[in-house]
Symmetry: C2
Subunit: 191 residues, 2 copies
DNA sequence: GGTTGTCTACCGACTAGTTGGTCTGGAGTC
DNA sequence: GACTCCAGACCAACTAGTCGGTAGACAACC
């Protein structure tokens, strides 16, 4: 199912989307990066939208898995939130995947094919849902505090992370700036 | 200097960038929207980067003017910040220009021509500077409070606004959601 | 008061290159 | 021999950008 070429195309597409967005990468870019013909990409992903959908679908799964791993590994609610934010800080620091592709695609939303829009929305819903789960648990146990409900608190935290990503990107990949900006949103919940 | 056609091209480019970003609009789009030939656009703006630079430069001026107007009209520091956030809430509600073009371009930053990158960075610097000015004044007078310095506080607020814009766009232009997400960042300063 | 020259504003037709996508066909495998 | 995987050549449509040329405004000159 997931052959090597298939995965490498997906990897390449993902890193191109992270740096350029949906509209500024082409089949030729991927073909050159992976070292295959353009037709090979079409073989695995009939259209550009299919490719993007596959990238986000995998990204969504990775997010769900990652949040699940945090839930399993970390027991304290405040540390779970710190792990989420810390993950992105590390990504920016390593210049690995220094931007959430869903956030990037969200900004381009009005110019995206409907299937892609659907995936982006689904990712946001999922992410908010998982974080709200962490926060809800923390509020019940008294480990966290917030004047708002868990869902709103999660949205505020995510917005802070996305805004901080933008700021870090403008500052040339400044992970320390990202950390500085996201800290208040964390402190607001962790006290 | 600034003829009618010139301004209309600029207007059209700006609204196209707001909805689609830099890479997903073309000279043909603008030509069709304005009702002129493509060559006319090239006459006023030799290259696509020149056009984008002109759009952002005008946007920067409008931002500086707008912040100046707030400073002149509103005396209380907390109300100045509310005016800034409220401006964007209104833009989203009216579906007028429901996204900051600099924030949108910032997400595409790695794929942008250097002249455009420069303008985007300059806008961020200017915006942070003006807001930090408001906050600094408020901190001195005791109208605002913050554990951080004015510059960091301004960055946190801007990140919150940009993150909330993304959330509102994903939610289909939900101005109430934008307001709900930005409120904590305001409350943090206004108490 | 014509004539000439120069300027800006604009257009239709063009270019070279790129876009996503299709077609045919070959190599390897089960 | 059917199937998956892949490449090369190709396509129409589109991209930013260029070309020569036109229409009008303004001025200078004789």
């Amino acid at each position: 199912m997931a052959t090597d070429t298939y995965t490498r195309i997906l990897d390449s597409a993902q890193s191109l989307i992270v740096t350029r967005g949906y509209n500024a990468f082409s089949y030729a870019d991927i073909a050159a990066a992976v070292g295959v013909g353009k037709a090979t990409i079409h073989h695995h992903f009939p259209g550009k939208a299919d490719l993007a959908v596959a990238v986000i679908a995998r990204y969504r799964q990775a997010t769900v898995d990652g949040m699940g791993a945090i839930a399993a590994r970390v027991t304290q609610a405040d540390m779970r939130l710190r792990a989420y934010v810390g993950f992105w800080e590390q990504c920016i620091r390593d210049d690995n995947a220094p931007f959430c592709i869903a956030a990037l695609l969200a900004s381009e939303l009005p110019s995206l094919p409907p299937e892609v829009v659907e995936q982006v929305k689904a990712h946001f819903d999922e992410l908010i849902d998982r974080l709200a789960g962490f926060i809800d648990e923390g509020l019940r146990s008294g480990a966290l505090k917030s004047p708002d409900n868990a869902e709103t608190s999660a949205r505020v935290l995510v917005a802070s992370v996305h805004g901080a990503m933008l700021a870090a990107r403008v500052a040339g990949g400044d992970a320390a700036l990202f950390s500085r900006i996201t800290q208040p949103a964390l402190q607001r919940l962790t006290g």
